[in-house]
Symmetry: C2
Subunit: 82 residues, 2 copies
Amino acid sequence: MKFKAIIHVRPKPEIRDPQGEAVAGALRTLGLSIEGVRAGKEIVVHFDAADLTAARAAVDTMGKELLANPVIEDYSADVAAA
Amino acid sequence: MKFKAIIHVRPKPEIRDPQGEAVAGALRTLGLSIEGVRAGKEIVVHFDAADLTAARAAVDTMGKELLANPVIEDYSADVAAA
C-alpha cells in the first residue's frame, strides 16, 4: 500500500532557536508586532508499507533514526493512505 | 489580541528539491521503500493583531515578504487566536 506521511520536526521548547530568532527580528522590521518565532521542518514522504501499522512504524524509524535530532528536536507525524 | 500562525513553506511541485532527494536517499539506506520526499519549512509565529482579519493580512505579509521565495516556493498558513 502507498502512504503519505507529513513529519514535523521542531526545536524542543527549552532549546534556543537562532533561526527562529532571526526570523522574528526580520519580521519586526516589516512593522509586525511579533512575540516569538520557532522555525522547524516539514518533511513530506511518500512511501510503501504493508499496512497502516507498518507505515506508522516506518515513520517512527524515519523520525528517530534520521529526521530529528532527539537531543534538541521533537517530531510528530500524520500518516495516511495516499 | 494574541494570535498563533503556523506557516508552511514548501518547494513548488515543478521545482527540484535537492534536500528532499538527499533525505530520500538516506531513508532508503534504512531499508524503507521510499517513493519521494519533499522538504519544507514550518514556522510557528506568535504575534499581536487587532482582529482575525488583521492577523490574516499580517500572515500574508510574512509569507510574501519574507518567509517564502515566490519563484520556487509556495506557502500556506493556519491562523488562530492564541
